[in-house]
Symmetry: C2
Subunit: 560 residues, 2 copies
């Protein structure tokens, strides 16, 4: 018997030896990824110097390292750049190289890039310049690493997926390349892709350009930080709980979570690809508001629904949703939601919403009203359960397979919450019914308010310190409802934004969030708002905010 | 110890006695439902006589029992009726009563009604006639029993749900009532709602008006039979595998399975309401082709997406998809698919498709080509697994709870197929990925063909004998792909439609289907086709067929 056991053990080890190559230490895999990134950075010409002393606020550093022309290019609105390239004032090569240089600086400042693509990008501009005027949009675009580029590794921040190499481009990139765009930079994302910060065993932490003690947000956090430093003016992110919006808000740029099933998101690496109870979306982040509809319209003009039959064939409607009246004003009813009834936002968020409310009331044509949240705690319970209907099994297995340590927020989201448990199919159906009933009830609630668009917080505060972004309710709410939501910068955290002396915590989550804040800790962090519309009313959201922005002279800060 | 056991047993029986009322025999429940139905029939005035000798072909009987005016009304196109009621030539009371009378005759002939609503319907017409001209559409509409009407029982053919009474109308009925419609008849459906015939322990079998040895189809089979006998000119059905289309085809009327998420289907009783891997849809059956777009447009004009946020806000596009060219013809490329590569349709189906193909080739502007199916067997495997992701547990439990016997096709669909098994959440995700990959591949395949619309069989034959409709592939295919599919009558089974002497079975399913057929057994059965478009191209499908029908003088039979 003993011999038989021994025989089996021997057999087992032999098979293991034959079929499982020994696991490479995760540190070696991460090191290789970093070396590759550094090599691509080193190929940028002229080389970008190392930055020896990293300041709290990184936003001023590029001005000391780049040429006047590079600064002018990278701080231009994308619409201006496209126009100047089309008219021959700027070459697409010069524009691409300026962004490559600034992205390299951004990497050295906040650690936001997984790789640059100087050779491929500049080679492309050579061919582009020849027929630039026909194409019209040779804008450099940055992408999130999880989005497939043929021939480049795509690991989605999972160490175990380090050698996955897609053989074709994501659908969205095919369309953008056809439109003339130039791909030149890929950006970082967090372990699991499922939290609102960016840290991983590949690249460690992507910090906030405005205050390196704070997070850049996530999961499109590399993208947000790169845009915050103007290393990109237009980039692609993804969002299933706030992953476009939180990085946009934390870094003072625009971002749109579009209604699902409008933009093509086939061709990406992520866990749970078959789950459809809550749909992830792809969308733009930009330093410019007009670039947001330009991006969406470029995609929809290509009729992506012909190739991807899961999409709804709705073109971007360019006729005004709010026509200008005879008096020169637009008639818009805006709701302001100060909190979601679950976690109270920090002082600067309240200040900004109150200022907007007051000033909007004075804009001709605009009616502004306070919007009452409807059971956002229930929404959070439903969406949290549906995110990980397998109890997080796939994510946990992928993490375990590499042997690399869990990041604190991976633990928080996958292991410390009672809602994460393996569900049976009938349990998923029950939750789906609850989801739909909640969606119906919210539609009624919203209809009663009579508002066109809603202005609300993006989160319970500006960018927090790393490992503290534990409450997704302000963004996940609109994922559950599948409402389009635009992020727009408004202000920054100011010394006047002191703690509310009369604060009383509503619950543990609220108390935790309150404990994070002081105006000193959050100094200089951008303060943004979320502008939310009804499902499929993406155009309305963008148009309403463009009008508000113009009327109120937003943003109320020189550089956010 | 023995005493203790005895004590527990006693306790158990006591509790059982106290909390479980004895189960009512299912026969008593069914009897009550039939008595209720008969009482509502008896309230129709003047009374409809019993029909003592039931002929093989029921379609001529109404002519012997109804008045000339009633015949004229019930055999009119709904568009004509609406116009005549609007202009005051006909009262809505006369129209409603004519349909009530003919529906009562239909019930006595083919057993297709669960109840008539003479009092409520006629009371409504009294109030309607007063402001008829404003409303414009006081058309009597029949509904499938599973669709909620406030205050009426809704059992969805499950005995155990005999006492379910919704407290509000289905969304779709609210809109139709607002548009002036009159509800006057509810129709039968099969046990489980999940097969393409109509038989249940409530009402037994709904037979085919054209040949009572054949099935009326299902699950909207009561509806199909009622329309086949002109006891209704426009009715509402539902379809997750062919349940609108097969009854429409079997009874020689029009039916549309619209693209999902267009028409409001909230407010119905059915098992697995939270399942969304394969979406059921609601849609019209009618004796008239123009009434199909009228129905859809009436619903979409009410903007149902404002109340039901799961819907896509796409209005019915009335501008021609195929504009008429200078020469007076429309340019349409039509594919003809003769079989799905899995089960070969019977002779009359081939005959009709070949005739259409030949004649279409002669119509100016129309290009016609043979369309090759793409892996329809794979589609069938995927959809079959996704229908019952809980292994049919909910259906089986609902059946078991009543103690009533299983119908043969309930057994076939739930217990005799290897694809029906309880799946885990990750298994459902894997199948969902397969589903989406298949959808993508089919979109490519279809794009290569360059066709605008496809003409194909509705099933592997005309209406079969009861308990024989075992192959859903021809309709379920378009549920899996979520393509809009219109059913249109073309011909009937003729004595010339003899068995193909060179038939060789491709597989067991094919051999079984072949064994069912002879022109004698299927005598007089309507032969219809299915016209299929790309997702969200419902308008294109209807417009293309209207053109074909006009050019070819369809249908090629006096009464189908």
């Amino acid at each position: 018997m003993y011999l038989f056991h021994k025989y089996l053990l021997h057999k087992y080890l032999l098979l293991k030896y034959l079929f499982h190559k020994p696991r490479e230490p995760w540190q070696a895999i991460a090191k290789r990824a970093q070396d590759h990134r550094d090599a691509t950075l080193a190929a940028v010409q002229p080389p970008v110097p190392d930055i020896l002393e990293l300041p709290l606020d990184s936003t001023l550093i590029p001005k000391t390292l780049l040429t006047q022309e590079e600064l002018q290019i990278t701080e231009s609105d994308p619409m201006t750049l496209i126009q100047k390239m089309s008219s021959g004032v700027l070459s697409s090569e010069a524009v691409t190289n300026a962004f490559l240089r600034r992205a390299a600086v951004a990497q050295k400042l906040v650690n936001c890039v997984t790789e640059l693509m100087p050779e491929a990008a500049l080679w492309r501009t050579v061919s582009l310049d020849a027929y630039l005027k026909e194409h019209g949009k040779p804008l450099p675009i940055s992408t999130k690493e999880m989005i497939h580029i043929a021939g480049l590794t795509c690991n989605a921040a999972f160490i175990v997926w380090h050698d996955r190499v897609p053989d074709k481009n994501a659908h969205i990139l095919e369309i953008l390349l056809d439109a003339g765009c130039v791909l030149y930079a890929r950006t970082t994302q967090p372990q699991t892709l499922m939290y609102l910060e960016t840290s991983s065993n590949y690249y460690r932490i992507t910090v906030n350009p405005f205050n390196r003690n704070l997070t850049s947000g996530g999961s499109s956090g590399g993208k947000g930080a790169l845009l915050g430093l103007r290393g990109s003016s237009l980039g692609i992110g993804t969002d299933i709980g706030g992953s476009i919006r939180v990085p946009a808000a934390n870094n003072g740029v625009y971002g749109l979570r579009p209604t699902s099933k409008c933009l093509p998101n086939q061709g990406m690496t992520a866990p749970m690809p078959g789950a459809e109870h809550i749909l992830g979306v792809i969308g733009p982040l930009s330093t410019s508001l007009p670039a947001i509809p330009l991006f969406v319209k470029t995609l929809l003009d290509a009729k992506p629904w012909l190739r991807d039959p899961s999409l709804v064939p709705l073109p971007w409607n360019t006729s005004p949703r709010f026509p200008v009246a005879a008096a020169g004003s637009k008639t818009i009813k805006i709701g302001v939601m100060y909190h979601d009834g679950v976690v109270q936002p920090h002082t600067p968020i309240y200040r900004v919403l109150q200022n907007l409310h007051t000033k909007l009331a004075d804009v001709p044509g605009i009616e502004v009203t306070t919007f009452t949240p409807y059971k956002h705690d229930e929404a959070w319970d439903i969406i949290y359960s549906l995110y990980f209907a397998d109890g997080g099994a796939e994510e946990k297995a992928a993490l375990a397979a590499s042997g690399a340590p869990w990041r604190p927020l991976s633990k928080f989201i996958l292991s410390e919450n009672l809602n994460v448990k393996p569900l049976s199919v009938p349990e998923v159906w029950d939750l789906t019914i609850k989801r739909d009933e909640y969606r119906n009830a919210y539609a009624r609630h919203r209809a009663v308010s009579g508002i066109d668009v809603l202005i609300c917080p993006v989160g319970p505060g500006a960018a927090p310190k790393v490992d503290c972004a534990r409450y997704w309710g302000y963004t996940a709410q609109w994922n559950l409802l599948d409402y389009p939501a635009l992020i727009a910068p408004v202000s920054k955290v100011l010394p006047i934004d002191i703690l509310d002396p009369e604060f009383v915590a509503w619950n543990d989550q609220d108390a935790y969030n309150h404990s994070l804040y002081s105006p000193e800790k959050y100094a200089n962090a951008p303060v943004s708002v979320q502008v939310v519309g009804r499902r499929f009313e993406d155009e309305k959201v963008v148009e309403a905010w463009a009008y508000v922005q113009e009327k109120l002279g937003l943003p109320w800060a020189e550089y956010v």
